[in-house]
C-alpha cells in the first residue's frame, strides 16, 4: 500500500489512447484519481467522455494492439499498467471485482448460476468442492436472493433483471475484493429495482469495507450513494469534490449546466438548460486549451487557461481551468458581450 494506509488505488496521469489509422487518440487523458478505503467514488459524465474506458483500463481489459495505456495505476505498490495477462488474472476477481452494466450479456447463458460464481473461487481460493458450494450459497444469500439452493441451479435467463444484477454482484464479491468497479450497474433496471441494488451495494460495502468506483451518467444515483465525485468531460476530469460540495457548490460550467438540465421537481414549466453544440469526436478533440470552451462561446477566451490545470478551490474540491470564475449562463446577465 502507498504512503497513506487509507489509499487503496492511486491513478496518476493515466492516458488511454485508441489507434485510428496509425495515430493514437487519447480517450482518457491525464487522469489522476485516488480511491480510498471504504469509499464510493463516482465517475460521472455523458456518453463518450471516457468513463468506461477508464474503468476497463484499471482492470486491463484493453487489447494491446489497438490501445496504448500510459501512466501509473498503483495498487499494493505495483503498477497495474505494466502487468501481463497472467499477473492480471491473479488480481481480477480476487482483489478487484467488476460489475458490468448488462448482466445478461456478462453472464454465460449456458452455465448455471452456481457454477459461474464458483468459477472465481476455483482460481483464487484453495477451498474444496463442498466448501466452494457452501460459499456460493452464502454469497447468494448475502446479495439478498431468496431460495438460494434453487437459484444456484438455474440459468441466467430464468432470473429477472434485478436478480441477474445481484448475481453479478455476488460474482464480484466472491474474492472479497478490496476494490469493486461498478460500470453503470443500475442503468438497465427499473427505478424500484435500482433503489434496491444501490441500497445493497451500500450495505455490502459497510460489511466488507472495500472501495467502490461507481461509473454512471445518472446524477440522481450519484447523489444517493457516492462519497466523492469526479466529473469527466472529453477524457479529462474537470471537477472533483465530495458529493455534498459538488451538488451544493458546483463550480465548473459543465457541472453547473448538467445540474441545470435535470428535469427537477421545482422547474415544472420552465425550459431546461441545454448545452450548446456537442461533444467533439475523439479525432477532432482540441488538444490545446479548455476543452469545454467551444460549448460556452459567450465566455471570452481570456477567461480560459492556455493549459488548463486542476486547481484546488476549497479543501478537496478541484476544478479544471479558470473559466468558472467568469462563467454565467447565456440567458443571465452579461450575455451582451457574446
Amino acid at each position: 500500500m502507498s504512503t497513506n494506509t487509507n489509499e487503496l488505488l492511486e491513478i496518476r496521469n493515466l492516458r488511454t489512447s485508441f489507434r485510428i489509422k496509425d495515430t493514437y487518440y487519447p480517450a482518457v487523458d491525464n487522469v489522476s484519481l485516488t480511491l480510498r478505503k471504504n469509499e464510493i467514488l463516482a465517475i460521472v459524465g455523458e456518453s463518450g467522455c471516457g468513463k468506461s474506458t477508464l474503468a476497463t483500463s484499471i482492470v486491463g481489459l484493453h487489447n494491446s494492439i489497438n490501445t496504448k495505456v500510459e501512466g501509473e495505476i498503483l495498487y499494493n505498490n505495483q503498477n497495474l499498467v505494466n502487468l501481463t495477462d497472467t499477473q492480471f488474472n491473479k488480481l481480477r476477481g480476487n482483489d478487484i471485482g467488476f460489475i458490468f452494466q448488462d448482466p445478461l450479456s456478462a453472464l454465460n447463458p449456458l452455465m448455471r448460476i452456481g457454477e459461474q460464481i464458483e468459477e472465481g473461487l476455483v482460481y483464487h481460493t484453495k477451498l474444496n468442492k463442498t466448501q466452494r458450494e457452501n460459499r456460493v450459497l452464502e454469497l447468494l444469500d448475502q446479495v439478498g436472493i431468496p431460495n438460494v439452493q434453487r437459484v444456484a441451479k438455474q440459468f441466467p435467463h430464468q432470473l429477472s433483471g434485478g436478480m441477474r444484477q445481484r448475481v453479478m454482484i455476488a460474482i464480484a464479491l466472491s474474492g472479497k475484493p478490496a476494490i469493486i468497479i461498478a460500470d453503470e450497474p443500475t442503468t438497465a433496471l427499473d427505478v424500484t429495482i435500482q433503489a434496491q441494488i444501490l441500497d445493497l451495494l451500500k450495505t455490502l460495502q459497510d460489511e466488507i469495507q472495500s472501495g467502490i468506483i461507481l461509473i454512471t451518467h445518472d446524477l440522481g444515483v450519484v447523489a444517493e450513494v457516492a462519497d466523492r465525485v469526479a466529473v469527466m468531460y472529453a477524457g479529462e476530469v474537470i471537477e472533483e469534490a465530495s458529493v455534498v460540495e459538488l451538488f451544493r457548490n458546483p463550480k465548473h460550467p459543465y457541472t453547473r449546466s448538467l445540474l441545470k438540465s435535470i428535469p427537477q421537481t421545482n422547474s415544472e414549466n420552465e425550459q431546461l438548460e441545454v448545452i450548446q453544440g456537442m461533444v467533439p469526436s475523439l479525432v477532432k478533440l482540441p488538444r490545446q486549451g479548455c476543452r469545454f470552451s467551444s460549448r460556452i462561446p459567450w465566455i471570452p477566451q481570456s477567461a480560459h487557461e492556455e493549459n488548463p490545470e486542476l486547481h484546488e478551490v476549497a479543501p478537496g474540491h478541484l476544478v479544471r481551468c479558470t473559466c468558472w470564475k467568469e462563467f454565467h449562463f447565456e440567458d443571465e446577465e452579461g450575455s451582451v458581450n457574446q
Binding site: 433483471g161 427505478v191 446524477l219 445540474l259 438540465s261 428535469p263 415544472e268
Partner: protein, 315 residues
Amino acid sequence: MSFMQVEDLKVHYPIRGGFFNTVVDHVYAVDGVTMEFERGKTYGLVGESGSGKSTTGKAIIGLEKITSGRIIYEGEEVTNARRKRDSAYNRDIQMIFQDSHSSMNPKKRVLDILAEPIRNFLKLSPQEERKRINELLAIVGMSEDVLLKYPHEFSGGQKQRLGIARAVACNPKMIIADEPVSALDLSVQAQVLNFMKDIQEQYGISYLFISHDLGVVRHMCDNISIMYKGRFVETGKREDIYTNPKHIYTNRLLSAIPDIEPETRNERKLERQKVEAAYREEQHKYYDEDGKVYPLKSISDTHKVAMSVDEKERV
C-alpha cells in the same frame, strides 16, 4: 372537451402450447384501460418494464390488434377499423419512437424521410413540399444543409429531433411518444424535451408521453397514469400523483426515484425501506386474489385510485 376517448382497451396475447398447439392461456398485456385526451395537454403513462405502457400506445395508434374495447376519435369509432391509408385518424395521430435510428430507413435521405408523411397525406406541389420540409427543420432547429444526409450521419439527439419533425409534418392532433428521451444523454434530453414543449405551445398538440422516468414525466405531463400489470393503479393531475399518492404501488415508485439532494439521502433511504416493507405486508389489500389491480374509483374530480369495494367505504 376531449377529442378522443379510449374505453376499456384490452390487448391480450394468446399463449399456445400443448396438443394441437391450442391456446392455453393469455398474456394480459393491456387489461382494461380507459383514457380521455384533450387538446394541448400532455398525458403521462408510467410503469415498470412489462407493465403494458408501450402496448397501450401501440394499440391506440393501430400497431397492435385490439382484443376488446373502443377508441373513439372525434365521435367516430376507429378501433381495428379498416382505414384508408390517408384517413384523418392516421394523419392526426403520429408517433415518436424510442430508438429513432431504427425507426428511419437507412437508405433514405432526410429529405425523403421528412417528405414521406407529407406525400402520403397532403397533396402538395414539389415546391410547397420543399418549403414545408424547410419549415419543419426550422421548428426543430436544424439547418437546411442536412437535407441530403443519411440518418447514420446524425447524433442521437439530432435523430430524435428529426423523428419529432417527421411526426409534426402533417399538423397532427396527437403524438404518441414512446420513451422519446430514455436513450439520450442528460443535456441532449433537455434539448429534445424543450423542443417538444415548444411545439406543443405553438401547435396545440396533445402528447401521450410513455416513460419510466418519473422525473421527466413530472416535468412534461399535466395528467399522469401509473400502470401495473396492464391496468391503471392511479390516475390524476400531476399534483394529485406527486403530492397526494393514494395507492401503495405509486408510493413505492415515487420513493424509489433518486433525488439530487445528497444531504437528505439517509432519511430517504429509511423512508424507502419503510414503504418497501409496507408494500410487502399490505399488498394483498391493494390487489385482488389473482394479483390483479382493482377497478378505478374516483376520490376527487381529477384523481382516481384502484381500490376494492370495502376500501371505498373506508375512504
